[in-house]
Symmetry: D2
Subunit: 142 residues, 4 copies
């Protein structure tokens, strides 16, 4: 298992009339990285969670520091580190860096495993916890 | 001067296949409230800042707590309180509440006045500071 | 019954680095006008259609002519005319005009009533047809 | 020179509460394919056009037929064929197909070369025309 890194190129339509990425689009990048974590690392995507188990992993907290502006056509690498595994939540750090390693933004995203029918938090399922622990181990030192 | 409150109805296209607002869309709501602040309260919109003065007020920090899920067609009120006026930055608290006052999400947004040519922070211009102080006064107690 | 007109102000985040509305955002405007038609004119919103009847009214065709560029902060009026009521479809004309009546873009949107379980088109339900006919009558001459 | 094909995976946040891609997102896919054409085929991206020459290639017409619904996690191939080279415009056909070749949506996008200062159409520049002709040749039979 290796830490996730998603390569993207900043799109014209993600930028605003100042020529830089529009604030909420960074949260799109971070949310999409978390989406890939559930699908490719845990092995259950958000659609299957909802359809097959009526659970989800909605974001209950997001925060982002915008360190340097991003412009159209910049190639970036979005990396995702799993920082904390709680009883019902996973806390991620998402960094968006250039090819030279300079960080453009750094986000923190907290997902809460949610039982939609009950409308409340639910324990991280055993297999998800196992995969999350293995991913956390793979991220050690990042 | 009265505190800003923007009435919105959650749109179908702002929600995801779980039937709730997609995480980054709350940051859209918050960013749009800050946009209205500059245009209607300070009296200079982001386009005029850029075009006439080559300055801007990009968001350097955004964070959001998602307290209750929002679904399509819900009517909400997005309110904006100016919490802190720094040397080069303004810090806002944005709340999205239902008609009954229940808060769905609460965001913190920090704008940094930026000199685009120099690529660095710039002091809050005097007239902007004056308007910001008046707005802060109007928000007292909220 | 009166023809729908939705007042909007073009947002900073809807525009691109050329300072004009980003192409797909006009389709957002048009889709949102159609969404309001079902909710406010027909009296059944897309969420209730899906949840209560497992039907929907997805767009099967969209087209748009971009006649004049739109910039941030422009106030526009988005109007919706129901042009044709077919066996299973409704065809709309959506125009986005300035306060002086100048048209910025003109879209055609075709919704097809769809039975999601069967995965195919379904007849326009009688009450929807009745409301649609009344709306079409209200639009006469536009 | 080979015809452009962009591989994408439909994202959760691109889909609506019916679990299918939200209408305007298909126009995002198509616009982004046209963006790649200018950057990678013509060799001048939209940012450089604007900044260095004060020209652009805004979309003046977009249309789309939605043939089959797309759901989250579906892998698709977005292909772009250059159909017509006019005096001031380029007309593209964009198709989004599954790995089995089934077409989900088919769009037509017309870009008009625009002189922003003059606010009007401008002839396709010679080098752009040359590259466009070569691309059109590469698309022959598609």
């Amino acid at each position: 298992m290796t830490p996730l890194v998603i390569e993207r190129v900043v799109k014209w339509g993600e930028c605003d009339p100042a020529g830089i990425i529009y604030t909420p689009r960074a949260i799109d990048y971070a949310t999409e990285a978390v989406e890939v974590f559930y699908r490719d690392v845990v092995g259950i995507d958000w659609l299957a969670m909802k359809r097959d188990h009526d659970i989800g992993a909605p974001t209950v907290h997001a925060s982002c520091d915008y360190l340097r502006p991003l412009a159209p056509n910049q190639a970036v690498r979005v990396s995702l580190v799993l920082e904390t595994i709680g009883g019902a939540s996973l806390t991620f750090r998402v960094e968006c860096a250039g090819e030279d390693g300079q960080v453009y933004f750094r986000a923190k995203m907290v997902s809460c495993i949610t039982d939609f029918a009950a409308g409340r938090a639910a324990p991280v399922p055993p297999r998800m916890r196992e995969r999350a622990l293995a991913y956390q181990e793979a991220c050690r030192g990042l």
